[in-house]
Symmetry: C2
Subunit: 348 residues, 2 copies
Amino acid sequence: MAHTLTVSIDAMGGDAGPSVVVSALMRTVVRHPGVHFLLHGDEAQLHALVERHPRLKNCVSVRHAPGRVAMEDKPSHVLRRGRDTSMWHTILSVKNDEANVAVSAGNTGALMAVSMFNLGIIEGVARPAIASIWPTLKGQTVVLDCGANVTATDEQLVDFAVMGEAFAHAIFGLERPRVGLLNVGSEEQKGNDAVKGAAAILRGSNLPIAFHGFIEGDDITKGTVDVVVTDGFTGNIALKTAEGTAKLVAQFLRQSLRRSMLGRLGAVIASGSLNALRRKLDPRASNGGIFLGLNGVVVKSHGGTDAVGFASALDMAIDMAKADINARITADRRSIAAKSAGDRAAEL
Amino acid sequence: MAHTLTVSIDAMGGDAGPSVVVSALMRTVVRHPGVHFLLHGDEAQLHALVERHPRLKNCVSVRHAPGRVAMEDKPSHVLRRGRDTSMWHTILSVKNDEANVAVSAGNTGALMAVSMFNLGIIEGVARPAIASIWPTLKGQTVVLDCGANVTATDEQLVDFAVMGEAFAHAIFGLERPRVGLLNVGSEEQKGNDAVKGAAAILRGSNLPIAFHGFIEGDDITKGTVDVVVTDGFTGNIALKTAEGTAKLVAQFLRQSLRRSMLGRLGAVIASGSLNALRRKLDPRASNGGIFLGLNGVVVKSHGGTDAVGFASALDMAIDMAKADINARITADRRSIAAKSAGDRAAEL
């Protein structure tokens, strides 16, 4: 069978290791026939796992990598001494055009460092960002940066807007995604210098971006915009606060239902509905942080996920590989650069 | 009856106006006999409302203030031209020792500006903060700053830790509240300069603070610590993101239950439990941002709240007035100043 695209997988990343990756693949090959998978890691271990599943035979290749990045390894250490690791080899396959997209459940900082080192950043973009998809009252929205950086200047926030817009266009299929800047109020005079500066650039640009203006934290789940732009410090904390809050509410629901006989009875009768809710809130369903801004597509799965979660990350990676979003990011970034060069010339 | 304490109320603040304030008072006077209330605002309107309720006669006084701060008024405008407003008079009563605590549902920025101008900041504290109480899996936790400032230096974060610790001691009755700094990871090398600097100061200080170290967004609702310290930009966004997420999950629950016959039937049978959950998630139950760091206590109620929510803000104000937390903040701040003067002397 001719393969339309190839996914490079770090089979040794994550807390659970290669057995989770292979179980995930059993789900993925059914959903995506014709996709090829390169598994990087301990050859003997991977061969033994793959051979148990005849279904994987024609679509999976194993590549030996003796080393393994640990969750506590510092990015700088991995850059110096990690060239034999499964993570490094996973990214290298994308660099060498053997694969269209890379997936790893390994250490986020190390994965970003190895990706930046090997793939490089899109011309004109200062820093990559991690995007993640959130459920909302209206559907879904993409939030970035969720933690690639701990600070962001106004121009970096504009880069995130450009990258997020390209993502929403490609993945959500929206003609003109609405882009909002996360702030402490929606009025123009509110916020820190970075968000005020970014808003001024976005309002003045001739980009094909539907800039909504400032939004507040509760606008994320309201679905006020399709793309939420923020710095990586705020975005990471907002993401984890939302995850914690969803778990808290689910726990309160369980406690309330258990506390009385009628509660327990009602829960049994409505168990189908409650299970549907559980599936809807399952963080595994939208598992995967997408690294944007690199010359290549990299998806980070949650380190502690299981086969269902890792399969979601593979779905995301395959969607990303099919949509050529980097071409749009490059074009939009050039258009901002040309506009700002034009503005400077006009000022002279 | 001799009044033990007096609450000064901006009766014209908030979207709904004085009728909500008076309805709230009807609840509050039952819960807190012996407390006196000063209502600032339009005398004729307030007298008419108060006279309908004989119960309020002995514990409520009306003070005329002709002006009113609008939700869209800029703080600088209110400082220049707002001396006749109900908000200004409300704070002035605390300044003049006629009241122990002030409550307003008006414009947050204006209320903070008027409070700072009239009450001043506690000696040694650089900036006040807005604290709010969150429900957690273990009980409750106080988060600050939730939006008084859009940036914070390392020393300002330390001030917030001191103020939050004093708050948790006084209001939660904890002997040694655990204090955590909100960050993008719990490892020491993570985060921006402000959080790393603040952690270094808190680890090296001889304050009686149980410093837990860094926490992540999901630790807030886990109840990992009793006091969550962060800058006002991140704190405000985390707070509103959590509110939005709780609403999203509640909406998903309603949708799931409505979608099937068994879901609807189960919901009817478990309606007691579901109502208990609704009460637990009701944002009105913990309505009130507390301004910390001022020479006086000010509580900000949500502008769009109803009588139940405003009564919660009054409860909070009365609890605050009973606990003399500013004395503890002042003492701890002095101890930091002495320690840092000692450190500088030792370096010479």
